[in-house]
């Protein structure tokens, strides 16, 4: 398990290579990258500021990874989440789940993103054409996370 909360950018190829290097049991690697979009809720976004709660963030992400490792047969998990000032098209988050089996890798990756979205202590503030604003949490994210309770 490997969780990083960092200001600097990341490279998915390097992370994937690190994650499975030499492990010939891995047959499937599912990954997700979240990017800054230039538009949100009808306004142009020129920049975002990502704030977090350092002493909680790491613990929270590690706990999410442990939950995924209990539910699915995984060979490796990697999460990187950035903080600080980011611009449109910048990478925000990377989640990788590797497994012997495709469905485990896919489900774990989606679960990790859903839980991260609703539990990890990050907050986005957008700079828009009409000033700054804090991004509001989305009901659709809560719903996405809650479907893992029943399955």
């Amino acid at each position: 398990m490997s969780v990083s909360v960092q200001r600097h950018d990341f490279d998915i190829s390097a992370e994937i290579t690190d994650l499975y290097a030499g492990n010939t049991k891995v047959g499937a690697i599912a990954s997700f990258i979240g990017l800054v979009r230039d538009m949100n809720d009808g306004l142009n976004v020129t920049e975002i500021e990502l704030e977090h709660y350092p002493s909680m963030t790491q613990k929270c992400l590690e706990s999410i990874v442990q939950q995924a490792e209990k539910r699915w047969d995984l060979n490796g998990v990697r999460i990187i989440h950035r903080f600080g000032t980011l611009k449109p098209a910048d990478q925000i988050v990377l989640v990788i789940a590797s497994s012997s089996h495709r469905s485990d890798a896919f489900e774990a990756c989606e679960f990790l993103m859903d839980y991260l979205k609703t539990q990890a202590p990050f907050w986005k503030k957008e700079s828009t054409e009409v000033g700054e604003r804090w991004v509001e949490a989305r009901k659709s994210d809560d719903e996405a996370a809650s479907r893992w309770n029943s399955s």
């Binding site: 979240g34 990502l50 704030e51 977090h52 709660y53 002493s55 909680m56 613990k59 929270c60 989440h81 925000i92 988050v93 993103m113 991260l116 979205k117 609703t118 539990q119 990890a120 202590p121 990050f122 907050w123 986005k124 503030k125 804090w134 991004v135 509001e136 949490a137």
Partner: protein
């Protein structure tokens, strides 16, 4: 878990806690953290919220349940009301928006 230290019996009700405010709360309250000694009648997270709300103005606005506020005690989100212990780190923040 209300452990009593027999060597400090007269201070048994004194609880120092650290409070952190994040994102919108940090900005509207103009404060990112503070250390407080809990008043005797404030023993749990719900009472702490009421206590902060009673400071009026922006405090009332943020803590009178009009706005969604999440609470973490010692870096873990608490869903129900939780008893506060000496040394606890309590954080207040809006629903998270990372990822």
């Amino acid at each position: 878990m209300n452990a009593i230290d027999p060597t400090k019996e007269s201070f048994k009700t004194l609880k120092n806690i650290k409070i952190l405010y994040f994102a919108r709360l940090r900005e509207t309250l103009g404060l990112d953290q503070e250390n407080i000694i809990l008043p005797e009648n404030v023993t749990d997270t719900r009472q702490l919220q009421k206590y902060l709300s009673n400071k009026g103005d922006v405090w009332e606005n943020e803590f009178s349940q009009k706005k969604a506020v999440r609470i973490a005690v010692n870096q873990e989100v608490v869903m129900a009301t939780q008893i506060l212990q000496d040394g606890d780190e309590v954080a207040f923040f809006p629903p998270v928006t990372g990822g």
